[in-house]
Subunit: 237 residues, 2 copies
DNA sequence: TAGTGGTCTAGACCACGCC
DNA sequence: GCGTGGTCTAGACCACTAG
């Protein structure tokens, strides 16, 4: 019953928050291992465990003889992994709902196969356009079975993030995904949305997200204008 | 001058070889931490360090109360499977070297920043065109510092896979990647290679691979004609 | 209950970067 | 020389799995 929270996790979370809040910026050195030992009354083994985790998450790097430094984040749309748009890009991101969550039909536009059980359930749909500053960079279309998210509306969104909303309001996490990626001509309709020629190339990403709730699968079709902001991601073991 | 080899590295290499040689197969349990302590005359901390590295490399997983088990599949690194093209697409894949490995210069074509130390080293380069059946689908260009792979030639390739070669011949694993993805018009030259119009969209993927050898970073530029075969991957926690 | 991995302590010595 | 991270020891207690 009682979840014992490891000490290293407190240190890890504390440092991560300070990095995300800008207490430590990219290039800055966080406190040394010995300083963390004193500050949290722990041994170096435990301090290093916390730092090991932050390294795995890509927040810091160790430099022998110098210290642990906050890593630089490139200004790209990192969404290919499980991270999500708003988390990865940071500030300067705006979102406009082109379609608030409504009951809809399963669309032919969904590339990856919709499972039998999903297709028999009613479908929720929403559509958003994402901007960096005033430049539209990504059109995002999402479908998922209606049954699993009671009272789901646009106003519920936590920090404008769908995944963060799932995690915090419904305790549902993304546990896997299947993707297909294409380079295509923009359709007439999409070209108009992005304000580009219909002969321009668009990046088309089809994703099927698996969640910790076996009944909830999310189908997404993303269209990205990568001419100014390429889609990017990083992955570290 | 004398590089002192850490004890955990011996354990790590020993276990990795046994896994690659089939002494332990996927699903098998490797010796417990306490057994490793006795076998190598080390403490549990050191044994765990070795296992931590093997986990990061994707070879094993720990199961609380049971042991450490050899993993079934290699994890995927972001966009493309680490196993590489040949295993991801399946049968009917052919590869043609457009340029066998040679000493070359660091190219302007590399999108992601080349580190200072890499740029100061001499550079190895090779280029391959990948087919599904007789259709060219991916042009692959790779650069890496010359210093780290002695006697590296095209004939060394294990199963036609660069990464498998690194793993089996040099015991080097991919431990991370940074990617940028763009949808672009095909260049004149690339259009000719793929046999398409130069106004056609091409998927352009720029990757910087980090390996278990800190001195070896691999820079790749991939160009894919996704009209018939989209790029895909799956990701599971 | 025995064995496994998960966490943690309180030290130690070494290698690296910098002044 | 001094502070940093890199490795290692010899324990300890806890949580999970399985017979």
């Amino acid at each position: 019953m009682k979840k014992t929270k490891p000490k290293y996790l407190n240190v890890q979370i504390h440092l991560k928050q300070q990095i995300q809040q800008g207490t430590y910026n990219p290039g800055d050195f966080i406190p040394s291992e010995n300083q963390l030992c004193k500050q949290f009354s722990i041994t170096r083994t435990t301090a290093r465990k916390a730092l090991d985790e932050l390294i795995k998450e890509g927040f810091i790097e160790r430099i022998h003889g110098k210290g642990s430094r906050v890593k630089e984040r490139r200004h790209t749309l990192g969404l290919l992994n499980v991270k999500g748009f708003s988390e990865a890009v940071g500030e300067g991101v705006n979102t406009k709902f082109l379609q608030h969550p409504i009951k809809a039909l399963w669309s032919d536009e969904i590339i990856l196969p919709v499972s039998e059980t999903d297709r028999n359930a009613s479908c929720f749909y929403f559509e958003r356009l994402r901007f960096v500053g005033k430049t539209p960079v990504m059109l995002e279309k999402n479908w998922f079975p209606n049954t699993k998210l009671p009272q789901f509306t646009a106003t519920d969104f936590v920090d404008g993030s769908f995944f963060k909303t799932l995690s915090q309001r419904y305790l549902i996490e993304i546990v896997g995904s299947t993707q297909e990626i294409r380079s295509e001509f923009a359709s007439e309709k999409h070209a108009k949305i992005f304000g580009i020629e219909s002969t321009s190339p668009l990046l088309h990403i089809s994703i099927k997200f698996l969640t910790s709730n076996p009944k909830l699968t999310i189908y997404s079709e993303l269209y990205c204008d990568t001419s100014a902001y390429p889609v990017g991601n990083s992955y570290y073991l």
